[in-house]
Symmetry: C2
Subunit: 315 residues, 2 copies
């Protein structure tokens, strides 16, 4: 049944694929045999992360890239992660309207990933959904996320190539530098290059990238300007992504990144298991009663954590 579903997903059956991704999202117990079966099939997808502040045009650029990779006859997956609202339960796909061009293409798979829980950071399901698409034979998977900070960093840790998007007039570029965005960008995209201030944005980015530079043999992040709504600059962007891909392979950086990705993934799953044990021990109230004692000043949090770890380890 598992083998069959995987076989159908690989053959292009969109419903079989959607079911596998749902399995991942729901943390279903059937997940484990599926992930076992998928493991040897992974590694073929090129993973591209897109990030940037709200309003820079992430969804438009994503849609344009989907179009470009479809022209190369690749199957393309899009995972849109909204890490900003752990409360709302559902994820928001920035501007879903932009994706409608591709919604009926059976070779394009689009899914909004909810962000679950906040200690786990990005949805734990995202790396697993990525594995499903990878194993199903998707040549390119685009992971789109919004926000500054943590989310970008996690997206960067999943991606082979991370695009950092900016747009003119979206606030001062120094904030981007503060936000650690310079460190994660493999390629910078200044979208809406026809808007006033585009040249300043490019100049500011160039200055900051120059200041942040490290060794001689490091990748030098290019800045690509686009008008994604019109498709302008998208060929330049895919060329830059290809150049980065070649560099990743030649430098050995690709394998290094993928091992680091696996490391994060395994550690996150292990922590999730342990966290579940801590909250879900027999009686279920150990953490609550420890917390009540800490809140009352009867116990310090370190001693409480020790008790919890001892209980979880025995679980």
């Amino acid at each position: 049944m598992t083998e069959e579903a995987i076989g159908r997903a690989r053959a292009g059956d969109a419903r079989a694929l959607a079911r596998l991704v749902s399995l991942v999202e729901n943390g279903s117990p059937e997940l484990r045999p599926v992930m076992k079966a998928l493991a040897p099939l992974t590694g073929g997808a090129r993973v591209i992360g897109l990030t940037g502040a709200p309003g820079v045009g992430k969804s438009t650029v994503t849609a344009a890239l989907v179009g470009a990779y479809r022209e190369r006859d690749l199957r393309v997956g899009v995972l849109a992660v909204d890490p900003t609202s752990p409360f709302s339960g559902g994820a928001l796909l920035g501007d879903r309207v932009r994706m409608q061009d591709h919604a009926t293409d059976p070779e394009v798979f689009i899914r909004s990933m909810a962000s679950r829980g906040h200690l786990g950071g990005l949805s734990a399901a995202t790396p697993q959904a990525l594995r499903v698409l990878d194993a199903a034979g998707f040549g390119a998977v685009l992971i789109e996320t919004v926000g500054v900070g943590q989310a970008e960093v996690e997206v960067a840790s999943l991606a082979d190539t991370t695009l950092v998007l900016a747009a003119p007039g979206m606030g001062d570029a120094v904030q981007a530098a503060k936000a650690g965005i310079l460190e994660i960008g493999d390629i910078f995209v200044v979208n809406k290059r026809d808007h006033p201030g585009a040249q300043e944005t490019v100049r500011d980015l160039r200055t900051m990238i120059a200041m942040a530079r490290r060794g001689e043999q490091d990748w030098k992040p290019p800045i690509v300007t686009t008008i994604a709504t019109a498709g302008d600059g998208i060929a330049d962007l895919t060329a830059a992504i290809d150049a980065h891909w070649s560099w990743l392979e030649a430098s050995g950086e690709r394998d290094r990144r993928r091992r680091a990705r696996a490391r994060e993934e395994v550690a996150a799953l292990a922590l999730a298991t342990l966290r579940q044990r801590m909250g879900g021990l027999p009686g279920d109230s150990r953490l609550d009663s420890l917390a009540a004692r800490v809140a009352a000043g009867e116990l310090d949090p370190y001693s409480a954590a020790d008790e919890l770890v001892a209980a979880a380890s025995g679980g």
Copy 2:
């Protein structure tokens, strides 16, 4: 030695206090006896979180509140958390210049907290630094953070009262709604009320708060307008914070929030311990070698995580 340092910090010795906070930041082994000794002394501080996008004037509002609470003769602590750059190592205090008025006041303690590691989210040290200030007799502790998303949520989980700051022309309010900011704000502050667009910002916020409303007996978040650089509206703001404090006590919500805070704190410390064990087992390379096998497609991440958990639990 521990008892003596705590005694001196409570008596107002700024250097003793700074050393205790450094202990927390460095995760020093001396930390545990200190936290044990502090536990019964905690619970007296009123904890106020301030959050909002870069540029809304968080540091100015923080500085104005410090002044207001100093007039009440409270000792005031400020913890500035910059969660946006796990890479830079050091934290940035938004606009340190604003704090200089208070820098020489021995009854004011100001510290920038670095954000460490990314699976742990906000600096694990922040809740512990808060405990130190609380136990040392600080009547008010202001926790300032930048960014959208995760960071705010975590600040809200630490605070008795969370202020969400906005400013005219800082981008559209719908983004704030997406970012889950409506759910965490106990009081909304529209700073720079003399700037164009202030009335629209207030109106947008009011509409969204009205839409997000829950039960009848719930707290209704007020909107306070300020010009923090001139001190305008700060009295209204402290009055709103006082009103929220009274509601917290009357409704029992304060105790509920503080137990929830302790719960997060204990769970985070327990996870940190387990995470450390996973990365730091004898040989130290278990996670690395599991990750290499996952990256090579020889092993799925769930099976790898199981191996890791088994090893960490035995550790």
